[in-house]
């Protein structure tokens, strides 16, 4: 009883802060999402319009397009980061010359703010001036113009995200791999399991909790990517990289369409929760059932 009370006292400041800066704003966004509200409309007042914004969103081609490119981005970027991150983590589990230097360099992108990453990649990919299009043209005769080519812009953003966030995946998986007990691997070796079997039946199940946590973090981050894309393409060419985060930003800030923008935010949050829940169920629930 005593420790329970102390626990609540210690938690109280965090809960109060969370309530005022997390829960209240969220409830306000939900409230606004049921209203038509643009302070620069002829009638700038907030007008309750029921579920009209939610109905509208289903038929909003701009939103659906944003949803589509975001899903594609999340699949390509997060999957690539997981695969590359795992391979790098395995590489860092071994000793090789210059390992510590390489590991430090490999981690550097993580400490860069997304807006800086976007700026740096913009400099590197600016048509005809940036180092990437320059050498692609000089070495391979490939013309790269992210201002006109939608696939080039999309691919560049995926690569930029992989470059920026793979180190996070590597670090979490290194932590997971380091903590694994040796016994199961030695037994598997004695039993004659090959590398693929060892990975599939021992390594993967044992690192699954860390893997799921990493996927959740990256998934949520990728779904609300704004800064890098804003700097690099501004959502273009056309709407080819207008991810949900950028779409919400443009709807809420320049257009000051607070009501509809809030609706999109709520829907995106809902989709994120659903996707994470599905992942959780598909990856962790079977494991729990096996244990049970």
């Amino acid at each position: 009883m005593q420790s329970n009370k102390l626990g609540w006292i210690l938690l109280a400041p965090t809960l109060v802060i969370l309530f005022f800066f997390g829960v209240l704003p969220f409830l306000y966004v939900v409230f606004v999402s049921f209203h038509q509200w643009n302070p620069f409309a002829a009638s700038p007042e907030m007008i309750f319009n029921g579920a009209e914004n939610f109905r509208r969103i289903v038929f909003d081609s701009a939103f659906l397009n944003s949803l589509g490119v975001t899903v594609a981005f999340v699949i390509f970027a997060v999957l690539s980061e997981l695969v590359i991150g795992y391979l790098l983590a395995q590489a860092f589990m071994r000793e090789f010359p210059g390992k510590s230097i390489f590991r430090t360099i490999h981690t550097l992108p993580l400490i860069m703010a997304p807006i800086i990453v976007g700026s740096v990649w913009k400099l590197m990919t600016t048509p005809s001036i940036g180092i990437i299009p320059h050498y692609l043209d000089e070495w391979f005769g490939i013309t790269m113009n992210i201002g006109t080519s939608a696939p080039a812009a999309f691919l560049t953003i995926v690569i930029m995200d992989i470059w920026h966030w793979t180190p996070l995946v590597t670090l979490t998986l290194i932590a997971a791999l380091v903590s694994l007990p040796r016994d199961p691997f030695e037994q598997a070796q004695i039993d004659g399991a090959n590398k693929a079997q060892t990975f599939w039946h021992i390594t993967l199940p044992m690192i699954t909790p860390a893997l799921v946590a990493t996927v959740f973090i990256r998934l949520m981050d990728a779904l609300r990517t704004v800064d890098e894309v804003w700097m690099l393409t501004g959502g273009g060419p056309g709407s080819s990289t207008r991810f949900l985060g950028v779409h919400i930003f443009k709807e809420v800030f320049p257009k000051t369409n607070y009501g509809y923008g809030s609706t999109i935010s709520v829907i995106v949050l809902y989709l994120t929760i659903v996707v994470c829940w599905l992942l959780y169920v598909s990856m962790l629930a079977p494991r729990k059932n096996r244990k049970g």
Binding site: N38, P39, F40, A41, A42, S43, P44, A62, K122, T126, P127, S128, I129, N145, I146, G147, T148, A150, T233, G234, G235, G236, P237, G238, S239, T241, R242, K250, E251, F253, P254, K255, T256, N257
Partner: protein, 477 residues
């Protein structure tokens, strides 16, 4: 005049000057006395003129009056985000906000701003002897309400100009080659046809001589509103399409069918010409905003272009940033036949007169102290150094200052053009829905730029979208 007389006149002049200065100082100290515990908070875009306020004018004012001034310079988006939320919620965090010319009508429609004319009239003791609304150029008129009162003190003003490379235009070999090819003399263009001819010539010249040189700039970003502005505020007016093709007096019609001109034959011709220029501009043009256009010109990659005046200063004079220092001339943008006469006759404009002012939110808790600061930055006396540090002119007397005159020479006569031809340019139309219509129609423009939509079809869609947005916003009935 003998020596004694000269000394006598000088002494009187010095005495008058020093007593005036003393009187001015005394005014600021006396007027500021009730506000010694006040800290003014301002938010503005991080631009050279704003940085000058933060780094030079605010400390000067603090020293003179004892009123602390905290100027926050941030990105364009952040600045609007912070200012609008503060004024909308009525929190009163900011005592001064940057008002870009194109947002002022939105702010006035929402009664966000304090009437500075009235504030001074109601509080005569606040009125600085060195401040007068009459000192401002006509640009200040963009910040007046329907009652003719001023709602913001202008702090930057510039026009978007036609910039060309004098070294290339005066090169004998190039001139000869141009004449041989076109049978015309090479001189700054006055029409779109001439501009296009020069652009094509220089792009080809660059190709033939293996130079990184193209014939024109193009602010044609495929995902940034900069391209939208280039078309509607720079290109379309020179074809006679004004106010974005929206007729506010005709139920905010945008389409030709309803009486607007966003998809008029002139607008479509303008779009096709602009696209043809974009196609022979440097490859980075599809990813260029106003900033990159300046950078492209400063890097010596183009022979001519349409460039914002705020960039003209460093392009023409800053050797640490520009490779074309001393090689730049300025002129009016090219236009269709008859447009200049039309504009001089009082209809329309030939380009964009941009800039901004500092205003006091109606929600500010320190309006009187803020008014003192705004008067301080609006005085003639502080303008010349400010104009030299960051090319912008808001007061009439600034043009005649020797420092500004010297700068004018370096800028190829830019200040002369601003003074003498500024009346041909105009700011954004007086719409309270500026960003809303822009953001609604910009995605379609981006599709035109990427080639996913043809210019005719695209402009038809843009006009329809603009009308739909205006209907949603409640302006179009």
């Amino acid at each position: 005049m003998n020596f004694a007389l000269k000394v006598g006149v000088s002494a009187i002049a010095m005495a008058v000057a020093s007593s005036t200065a003393y009187a001015d100082d005394a005014f600021w100290k006396e007027a500021a006395a009730p506000y010694q515990d006040v800290t003014l908070h301002g938010v503005t875009e991080s631009t050279p003129p704003s940085n000058y306020i933060r780094e030079v004018l605010a400390p000067q004012f603090e020293e003179l009056t004892g009123i602390r001034v905290d100027i926050e310079t941030t990105s364009w988006d952040q600045m609007y985000d912070k200012a609008i939320k503060d004024m909308e919620a009525g929190t009163g965090i900011y005592d001064m906000v940057f008002i870009e010319q194109d947002i002022v009508y939105s702010y006035l429609a929402r009664d966000f701003l304090t009437d500075t004319t009235k504030l001074l009239a109601d509080n005569p003791s606040l009125k600085a002897p060195t401040y007068s609304e009459n000192n401002f150029t006509t640009f200040a008129d963009y910040f007046r309400g329907e009652n003719g009162h001023l709602y913001g003190v202008p702090m930057e003003a510039f026009i978007k100009i036609y910039l060309y490379r004098t070294d290339l235009f005066n090169d004998p070999e190039i001139k000869e080659a141009f004449k041989a090819e076109t049978r015309h003399e090479l001189k700054p263009a006055t029409t779109h046809e001439e501009y296009g001819e020069i652009a094509r010539f220089f792009t080809k010249w660059g190709e033939d001589h293996d130079l990184d040189l193209w014939g024109t700039t193009a602010q044609a970003h495929t995902g940034h509103p900069a391209s939208w502005y280039e078309f509607f505020e720079t290109i379309a007016p020179t074809y006679g399409v004004y106010n974005w093709g929206i007729d506010a007096k005709n139920n905010y019609a945008a389409s030709v069918a309803n009486g607007g001109s966003m998809n008029s034959p002139e607008a479509k011709e303008a779009m096709k010409w602009w696209l043809s220029m974009r196609d022979i501009a440097p490859p980075e043009s599809n990813a260029s905003t106003w900033t990159e256009v300046g950078t492209t010109f400063g890097a010596g990659r183009v022979a001519q272009g349409l460039v914002y005046g705020e960039n003209a200063g460093w392009i023409a004079a800053d050797e640490s940033k520009s490779l074309v220092v001393g090689k730049v001339g300025v002129a009016l943008p090219p236009m269709e036949d008859g447009i200049l006469e039309e504009v001089e006759g009082g209809k329309g404009y030939i380009g964009y007169y941009d800039g901004g002012a500092f205003g006091i939110p109606a929600t500010s808790k320190n309006q009187k102290a803020a008014m003192l600061f705004l008067q301080y930055i609006g005085q003639d006396e502080v303008q010349p150094d400010w104009a030299v540090a960051a090319p912008r002119v808001t007061n009439k007397s600034t043009y005649d200052d020797p420092k500004v005159q010297a700068m004018n020479k370096e800028l190829g006569g830019y200040y002369d053009l601003l003074r003498d031809k500024g009346y041909l340019f105009a700011g954004a139309p007086a719409y309270p829905f500026h960003a809303q219509v822009r953001e609604a129609t910009a995605p379609i423009l981006y599709q035109i730029l990427t080639g996913d939509l043809g210019p005719d079809e695209g402009l038809d869609q843009m006009a329809a979208k603009a009308e739909a947005e205006l209907t949603d916003l409640g302006y179009r009935k």
